[in-house]
């Protein structure tokens, strides 16, 4: 092997059969190859063909082994669902700017099992057209963020699940006709709440959280809630026996405690007997630090807020009992 090639790298633009073959050849020569492809998968046109000219060979039979080889080659780094935005520098020393689009999938973990594409929406929700183009490139205008794909991923790949959460800006609230802005479907509500000023947001949550009958269902079904003595059971924080429990403190504590690990599965809202839109809280918190809860549900006095932040810092996981 030529020592000169050791630290040199090549960028291949386009993951069709030509790009794949070029990448493989270069990689086998010892070059580090970056293969950029704008769609979610390499394969290109050939993957869409049945037979190839002139031998009438099966297209996939030729392509598939190469695709797999490319994806597993130690010298090839796939940058799928990415686009080249700019090239600068000169021969031998290029700087390339690549835009990687959000895929909601952690590629290091994805096993390609395909379970996420098998899930269906809850039958009660009606939507026209396709909900997604595929699970990687989710159609953001129609995904309702039911969370089923994530759940399927978690179930199939318990140890290493790859689906991350989808984002919530689907049907853009501001573009909706007024009558559709009042709905309670999570994605609409989340945007409505996000657009409220602080005072109306505080009023909105005051009204919703006053429904709470303290069943602890949202904690019971939560996959990331840690059992043990939390502030919710501590009379110094939440007075026992009161309905509704301290508004908004009770639900701020609950959301803050899981803020860093919530997978937005939506079970808390589904099991809530009084239909508090808990999912909305977690939609809004999803890509923000747990402290964002204090803005999402305003109205907590600063003293209690600081006390809570300090406390959670001190005791991030309270009373954990791993072995039961």
């Amino acid at each position: 092997m030529n020592r000169e090639n050791e630290h040199k790298s090549v960028l291949v633009i386009g993951g069709g059969i030509a790009g794949i073959q070029a990448s493989l050849d270069l990689a086998n020569m010892g070059f580090k190859v970056y293969l950029v492809e704008k769609t979610p998968s390499i394969g290109g046109r050939m993957a869409q063909l049945d037979k190839t000219f002139p031998t009438n060979d099966c297209a996939m039979c030729i392509l598939a082994p190469k695709m797999i080889e490319a994806s597993q080659h130690p010298n090839i780094e796939l940058l799928t669902y990415s686009e080249v935005e700019g090239v600068s520098g000169e021969e031998g020393n290029f700087h390339v700017k690549v835009k990687r689009k959000a895929t909601h999938v952690d590629w290091d973990k994805c096993t390609g099992c395909g379970e996420c594409t098998q899930t269906e929406l809850d039958g009660s929700k009606e939507f026209e057209g396709e909900i997604w183009v595929d699970r990687i490139k989710i159609d953001e205008t129609s995904c309702v963020q039911c969370g089923e794909c994530t759940q399927a991923c978690v179930e199939e790949n318990k140890e290493r699940h790859a689906m991350t959460n989808v984002a919530f800006e689907r049907r853009r609230f501001v573009e909706l006709p007024p009558e559709e802005r009042e709905g309670r479907e999570p994605e609409i509500l989340a945007q409505r709440v996000a657009l409220m000023d602080e005072e109306s947001r505080a009023d909105f949550w005051q009204k919703e959280l006053s429904k709470c009958i303290k069943c602890f269902g949202c904690c019971d079904v939560c996959p990331v809630w840690i059992y043990g003595e939390t502030e919710l059971e501590d009379p110094e924080w939440i007075a026992p026996g009161e309905i509704p429990p301290a508004v908004p403190l009770f639900h701020i504590i609950r959301a803050y405690r899981i803020g860093d690990s919530c997978i937005n599965c939506g079970m808390c809202e589904e099991t809530c007997p009084v239909d508090i839109p808990l999912r909305t809280i977690h939609h809004l918190m999803q890509r923000q630090p747990p402290e964002s809860i204090f803005e999402i549900i305003p109205g907590l006095d600063p003293e209690t807020k600081n006390k809570l932040v300090e406390r959670v810092k001190e005791r991030p996981v309270v009373g954990t009992e791993i072995s039961k």
């Binding site: 006053s210 099991t271 009084v274």
Partner: protein
């Protein structure tokens, strides 16, 4: 490792939520909600979520106990049953069958209640069989039969969601029937008007469009006032009245006497609020009434129920979807226990013991002669025990020492008995008075059916084997009946009992385990195998033919405040405990939330008596006295205090009065006079 999910019915309130018990290697590890259940839809309240919490409690009775020299000693089933059958036979022979009283249980299955009433009638030979429905909805069973011909909820729970106006009177729905309140809130979300009439600011008031905070016991007056306004605004449904009802003219004259001025003065309700309520209820296309103990537990309980029925008929709000008169029953099988005839005057399916044809049918089926005079009610049994005419009692799964009014009186009565058998999961306060205690299985250890408040019959399933030496109630009754010489108790399983129920009870005629297990949702009446069940009653015609209006005058509660006892005490429950707490007080998560009782006191009254938040005070009535923590809150009006009845250490029923509704014999738990003072004064 073997993991099972067993679908069963929640053992607490009458909503009848189904859930799964999670069973790991024969041990229950938790409760999992059931999304396909039509009432709960995967949602449960805190009691439901903790329903498995008491099953393995160390206090569970594990073997029969017999009292020797004043102390309980463990014994064998053989000996315990020998003593019970021997003593009961002896008392029956010497004192007559009517000197024995039997309390069945709203916590037991339909099959067990049927067996218990069969045991009372066919083996003991008495109609002295009753259960705690006497203390909650006896006036409903009577009142709605008088008005409509059927004493049960007219509509089903999911329908509430579609109502245009919901009138909640005397029901703390959010705390006591959480899964019903979720329907109320959903209806509200869709734009329904919510009217709440309650002397307290209950949590549902927060969401009400109008709150009628009437004085305890003035319900008839309030309802007459609303009906007067509806009539004067011509909002009555005249076609409905003419076509489907009778007794309207007399009723109309009576209601005419209740002018808004008079009503506001008596009830203490603001006139504008009264008018709003009348307008919204009268104008709604579909209006639904929900009520519970606030209506029934009065000396005028039956009148209150009939007034609710009047209001619904006046506006044509019966027999259609999302309307109706909906009594919310408090226990998971109190509807079923009534249906099964654990009542002194009827057999299963409300077939009267006086009616010769019905009696003949049961006599033929059971091969014995049956008594024809109605027996004693719960409250009358206690009185009879004290007088000495009742010598023995057999109490299954009830705890009258906490649940009945004036418990001093109950304790005295029970200690007068020659022989008392208590059959329960735990050594309840009542069991302390027993001569023999028989350990029964909990809901998780037996098969059977339960009937929810909206007449839905559902399967309870066995998740685990019996704890210790306990046995399912039906097995105990069967074995006891056989020992007492009956040849009519040959059941291999609850399913076999259900077959007998089905044959003898027209309204349950089409119900079978096969149908229930296949997932059918069956509400009675379900007269035949092909019948889909009846979610909506009185659709074309009332069960009694025509709906009957009653002209009802307002009458004051039996005991009113005076100089010596200046406060009105009203009793009730809290979200986190259930009834006498035999089960819930043994669940840590529930006990943590509500560990003891309190007396709710208006800040005005508290200031006058210089009582501060959380202070211990004495509450005294003509019958008893308790020490209890004060909870100062504007949830109650000045002059009214509230105490939950769950807690033995400060039992509200030490104070309550034994005044009964003359027909339904339900005690007036909701009104009695008390005084409050600080311990040091001894005023």
């Amino acid at each position: 490792m073997n993991c099972d999910l067993v679908l069963t019915v929640c053992p607490f309130c009458g909503c009848g939520c189904q859930f799964y018990l999670e069973v790991l290697d024969g041990e229950i590890t938790g409760v999992v909600p059931c999304k396909t259940d039509e009432v709960s839809g995967g949602q449960l309240c805190i009691k439901g979520r903790n329903a498995a919490g008491f099953i393995y409690h160390r206090d569970r009775l594990k073997s029969p106990l017999v009292r020797r020299n004043g102390k309980f000693e463990e014994t064998s089933w053989d000996e315990a049953l020998e003593i019970v059958s021997g003593r009961l036979s002896e008392i029956k022979q010497l004192q007559g069958a009517d000197s024995i009283g039997i309390l069945s249980s709203a916590k037991c299955t339909n099959e067990e209640n049927f067996l218990m009433m069969k045991f009372a009638r066919a083996v003991i030979g008495t109609n002295n069989v009753d259960h705690c429905a006497r203390l909650c909805h006896a006036s409903t069973v009577l009142g709605l039969v008088n008005s409509f011909g059927s004493g049960a909820m007219t509509n089903s729970i999911p329908e509430i969601e579609g109502a245009g106006c919901i009138f909640v009177i005397g029901s703390n729905t959010m705390e006591q029937h959480p899964l019903v309140s979720s329907r109320v809130l959903r209806a509200k979300e869709r734009g329904a008007k919510l009217i709440v009439a309650d002397p307290r600011r209950i949590p549902l008031v927060e969401f009400a469009d109008v709150h009628l905070q009437h004085r305890p016991g003035t319900d008839v007056c309030l309802l007459n006032g609303i009906m007067n306004l509806i009539l004067s605004w011509n909002l009555a449904d005249n076609d409905f009245i003419a076509g489907r009802t009778e007794g309207f003219e007399e009723f109309k004259r009576k209601v005419g006497e209740y002018s808004p001025e008079k009503v506001c003065q008596i009830t203490g309700v603001d006139r504008a609020a009264l008018e709003k309520a009348a307008r919204w209820y009268g104008e709604a296309e579909k209006a639904s009434i929900l009520y519970a103990m606030g209506i029934t537990q009065h000396t005028t309980g039956t009148d209150n129920v009939e007034s609710c029925a009047n209001l619904a008929m006046l506006t044509g709000n019966v027999g259609r979807k999302s309307t109706g008169v909906n009594p919310l029953r408090g226990q998971n099988n109190v509807q079923g226990a009534c249906d099964m005839g654990a009542l002194p005057n009827v057999y299963s399916g409300y077939q009267s013991v006086r009616d010769e044809a019905s009696r003949g049918k049961f006599e033929k089926a059971w091969g014995v002669e049956l008594p024809q005079e109605p027996g004693l009610t719960v409250t009358e049994m206690i009185d009879a025990a004290l007088e000495g005419s009742l010598k023995a009692m057999y109490i299954m799964g009830e705890n009258p020492v906490l649940s009945d009014p004036d418990v001093n009186h109950v304790r005295k009565a029970l200690s007068e008995l020659d022989f008392l058998v208590v059959q329960d999961c735990f050594l309840s306060d009542t069991a302390e008075f027993a001569h023999v205690v028989l350990p029964a299985c909990s809901f998780a250890e037996k098969e059977g059916t339960f009937t929810a408040t909206d007449r839905r019959v559902q399967r309870g399933r066995k998740a685990i084997g019996p704890i210790g030496d306990s046995k399912p109630d039906w097995v105990i009754i069967t074995e006891l009946a056989r020992r007492m010489g009956s040849t009519q108790f040959n059941y291999e399983s609850p399913q076999a009992i259900m077959e007998e129920i089905v044959n003898l009870t027209p309204s349950y005629g089409g119900i079978s385990y096969e149908r229930l297990d296949s997932g059918e949702v069956l509400a009675w009446p379900c007269p035949s195998k092909e019948h889909p069940g009846t979610k909506l009653l009185h659709e074309e015609i009332f069960a009694r033919g025509k709906g009957r209006f009653f002209a009802i005058d307002y009458e004051q509660p039996a005991e009113l405040p005076d100089e010596e006892y200046p406060f009105i005490l009203t009793t009730g429950r809290v979200m986190f405990q259930f009834h006498t707490g035999t089960m819930t007080r043994r669940v840590p998560a529930l006990e943590r939330e509500a560990s003891t009782g309190f007396v709710e006191l208006n800040p005005e009254d508290a200031a006058r008596l210089s009582i501060v938040q959380g202070e211990k005070v004495q509450v005294k009535s003509r019958r008893g006295e308790i020490e209890i923590k004060a909870f100062v809150t504007d949830r109650v009006s000045p002059g009214v205090v509230f105490i939950p009845f769950h807690f033995a250490e400060c039992a509200a029923n030490e104070l309550t009065s034994r005044n009964l509704d003359p027909e339904a014999k339900i005690p007036e738990f909701k009104v009695c006079a008390v005084k409050i003072y600080k311990g040091d004064k001894h005023g």
